[in-house]
Symmetry: none
């Protein structure tokens, strides 16, 4: 992998447009009775034509054998080394609720729990309290604890027993221990600083826990809370700084919008279907150089283990594709952020099928976009971040390295 510092020196402005269409969890595994994966089973005349005219292959977002989370998967697609730019759990949780995290904020994932009179945990998930009940508690905490010692406090609901805590102040360090002991029958420990710089943040976090506990003492289920995954926004350089791209993100789900915002893309409003997303693309096409379009259904159906639903999700996207290809982007990349084989019901380590369609790619003339045809493609198996480099090269946005 060539470092982003070098890519940055080579990047030049151009009038070309790049569209990166991310079918979340695209890669799959064959159904035993047919020997065909989800992508190979789906009827996809439009993707197949792109594969015929384009270069196909695979990419590995993090490394061979490594199953990427959504954060690393997308950062790698955007050309950011996912090992260098690790995103803490607290930050990812905040991005996932569309919270506008600032670079100096410290975010944590919070869980409500139940403790007995001695403070011993009896239920780590507060009986999986209903979301609306949790939201009322969160509201009470937020109203009563707006700030602590000059540090602004944000408490935001997620779902069931889960919430997000954000501390906003100057000089706060996220080097703090988790307070979730991962078992019941013990007390919730205090937050401990892991470096001298983290003393103030630890004091504020512990004060928050103490005040919150007092406010929840009447609650039958959620009468205590635990914090983990303290993290700060890693603020990498933006895609504009690194690639000289004006970039728009078209994504329905908050986490993907948050990941795009993290690298400086404009997150634009859009509707909830892929037809809506392509319509947004068409409307904004002249205002940006780079478009990230996120399609969620291929992942959620894969996680459900629903092979046929994932096939249907792929076909739904393929049917809408002419709305995108009619714009004739100079470079079109179609891939996923990781594989989610329905057979595994989870993200997996399998290299992700990818295609690049441009005037300057070598046409592989394969008949179908699928895992088997990608094996014979000219992209081979790309390493982390390389798909973005290739997209820029095909868009004639990188100058020569060395003379």
């Amino acid at each position: 992998m060539i470092s982003q510092e070098i890519i940055r020196e080579l990047a030049v402005e151009a009038s070309t447009k790049i569209v990166m269409l991310v079918m979340d969890g695209l890669g799959g595994l064959p159904k035993p009775d047919t020997g065909l994966t989800e992508l190979e089973t789906a009827r996809t005349p439009n993707l197949d034509r792109l594969a015929y005219e384009g270069s196909v292959g695979f990419h590995t977002p993090v490394g061979r054998g490594i199953t990427p989370g959504s954060g690393p998967g997308h950062l790698s697609l955007f050309g950011y080394d996912p090992v260098r730019w690790q995103i803490g759990r607290g930050v990812l949780e905040a991005l996932g609720i569309d919270f506008d995290l600032q670079p100096a904020d410290v975010a944590a994932r919070g869980n409500f729990c139940t403790v007995d009179a001695n403070g011993v945990i009896t239920d780590r998930r507060a009986g999986r309290i209903a979301t609306d009940k949790m939201e009322k508690i969160v509201q009470r905490l937020q109203e009563n604890i707006p700030e602590i010692d000059g540090v602004q406090i944000f408490v935001r609901p997620v779902r069931e027993h889960r919430f997000v805590l954000v501390l906003r102040g100057s000089g706060l360090s996220p080097e703090l221990t988790d307070t979730d002991p991962q078992r019941e029958g013990v007390q919730v420990p205090p937050v401990e600083p892991q470096s001298p710089a983290a003393h103030q943040a630890a004091r504020v976090a512990n004060e928050f826990v103490a005040r919150a506990r007092a406010l929840m003492k009447d609650q039958p289920q959620a009468n205590m809370l635990m914090l983990r995954g303290f993290a700060s926004h890693p603020h990498p350089p933006s895609v504009t700084e690194v690639y000289k791209l004006k970039a728009a993100a078209i994504a329905v789900y908050p986490m993907y919008r948050g990941l795009a915002r993290l690298v400086g893309m404009d997150v634009v409003p859009t509707g909830s279907t892929i037809v809506d997303e392509f319509s947004t693309l068409a409307q904004l096409y002249h205002q940006y150089d780079f478009f990230f379009i996120h399609y969620k259904r291929t992942d959620s159906t894969g996680e459900d283990g629903n092979f046929d639903a994932k096939v249907a999700a792929i076909e739904e996207l393929d049917r809408a594709l002419p709305d995108l290809t009619a714009l004739k982007p100079d470079v079109l990349v179609v891939t996923g952020d990781h594989s989610t084989p329905a057979m595994l019901k989870a993200h997996s380590w399998h290299p992700v099928p990818a295609l690049i369609h441009s005037r300057w790619c070598r046409a592989d003339r394969v008949q179908k976009f699928g895992e088997s045809s990608c094996r014979a493609g000219s992209l081979g198996i790309l390493g982390p971040t390389e798909l973005m480099t290739l997209a820029l090269a095909n868009a004639e946005r990188l100058t020569k390295f060395g003379a």
Copy 2:
């Protein structure tokens, strides 16, 4: 990529011979009406036989999506990490005129320009002064400024308004600013040191400019000069130190001879055609272990955008090839230092077709040496420097790593 330090520990002497035949800019893109690249269009029975008996695939000199200059392209072929061993513009310019650069030299690319009575630049290229006129001025400067404060000065002509300046002394640092403001209507700024170690070099360079200006004040066009790309020879370890190889370079153009000299190859005299180069190879065959043979015409025709001329250049080499294969080298590598598709009229990022022919390669039995057949080859897509490692392995010149 395995580091050269490790390769060095594994390298052993042997009696085997390696020939690396570099067809500059070999890789191409298909002509739209035939779907065939330059290499696929060319009638190449001799290359095709080597591909049939050998292993084929691609290599990426610097990285996926990165377009290599000639310097990085060749260093990678020779097994030197092109990101670690970057060659400054001044050094490349000096190599390009066959100047015998020493490790401590500081070289810069010089441009003559025209300034008015106030020293304001009116023409950055001195009216693209004729080469013979420029050579006279260079001669006058060289004769009158042989040294400054114990630092030896070399002024050498390149072409039109361009020349090379080399400072030779002890403790000179190339960390100096350019004096080309990249526009007219302003004065030429002085050379500024960019580190404390560069003060002496800056003083010498500025003194050179002052004396040169006085010597040129009668000139109508070239009455001032600008300097840029100050650089020192990166002096990497030689191929003999690293690989235990006695290596000869057979190349017509100065830049490639210079790059070979940079890594310690003997640069031998040769004629200007590929037939001449193969004849030189035959004459010297018993004196060396490794031969780098450079063939330029595939690149120059590609840069001209002349598809048919590039096809003809490939066929010309193929016709001469029996003179090489008659020597039966233990390992024969045929590849390019980068792609130069005639369709793009420039170097490009596309992986470069490569073949290795040896007793120990896996014969891929492909029918043709070309981009499509290379996709199916057993080399896959090699990363930077890996082709050299494979050549050494096939020559039984690398021992086992670890026990």
